[in-house]
Symmetry: C2
Subunit: 148 residues, 2 copies
DNA sequence: TATTGTTATACTCTATAACTATA
DNA sequence: TATAGTTATAGAGTATAACAATA
């Protein structure tokens, strides 16, 4: 007869489980960090994508960030309504996106908030550790990043 | 005058961004791995928690897994309807949960599916690398795990 | 024939509030 | 006064289908 089951942690070996829990915790902190700017993490990432590339289009951003085209529309509508973004026709269907002055302003503040958030979350890791983890995480979702 | 902005990846330094993308990709694979068993990742984790501890209660599982009590109810109702779980009164309000034979059976198949999934996702990492990443991830969400 | 941007819609997950019964 | 379990419901986030205009 076996005794009662030993209380070994059933999630101790499940990397995916810890990945998920960590992601949820980190996202919650980021959400709180961006809330004063009235930006969600997804919106901030779109702002970063527009701010980095000159004249990216809406569809391109969706592909880069993994946001469905249908869900980009209301997000961009809000940015336009807030005067954060300007559009310039590339051809009859695509429009190049650039940040207005207000958009660049908010972009910079979101960048600062994200940086503070990263320091708060990952400050306990050395720069080398951060780089090592980042490379491994990238390999998990970005096939062309080389790893795995 | 500045030239056009250089195309530096605006997410290159954002660990949180890569954590999120990796989590989404890994969860999608796990979801697909568990679909033949008609289990969601959350359901499988509950099955694992019941299978590991003798007589845990519904509320305890919620706390362990970060699932709100309100959301545990329908999940457990399904498990009971499927005959996967049995309840035994601990006191007037709590009930100890144990797996039935069918529940243990599904538990073991879910375990196997999760293990195959983990190998597929993380097989490119050495055991030492897996352990190192897991410890870092744990530190991000489980304060008492020591790190950070 | 494929792509862009849009609208409408559905589906899942998660969060909140309220309630009963029990400790 | 706090906790267990439940119900109902609301809000995100995400996914699908369809459409008009353009390539």
């Amino acid at each position: 007869m076996d005794g009662p089951e030993p209380h070994t942690d059933p999630f101790a070996s499940l990397l995916g489980y810890h990945l998920r829990r960590a992601s949820v915790a980190v996202m919650a902190d980021l959400t709180a960090s961006l809330a004063p700017l009235e930006l969600t993490p997804a919106e901030a990432s779109v702002l970063f994508a527009i701010g980095a590339g000159s004249g990216v289009t809406q569809a391109e951003i969706g592909r880069i960030l993994g946001i469905a085209r249908a869900n980009m529309a209301p997000l961009m509508a809000r940015f336009l309504a807030l005067g954060l973004v300007e559009r310039e026709a590339v051809d009859g269907r695509s429009q190049a996106l650039t940040l207005t002055r207000a958009g660049r302003d908010l972009h910079d503040r979101a960048r600062a908030a994200a940086a503070a958030h990263e320091d708060r979350m990952f400050g306990g890791f050395s720069a080398a550790e951060r780089a090592a983890i980042l490379a491994k995480l990238r390999a998990l979702w970005e096939p062309e990043s080389g790893g795995l």
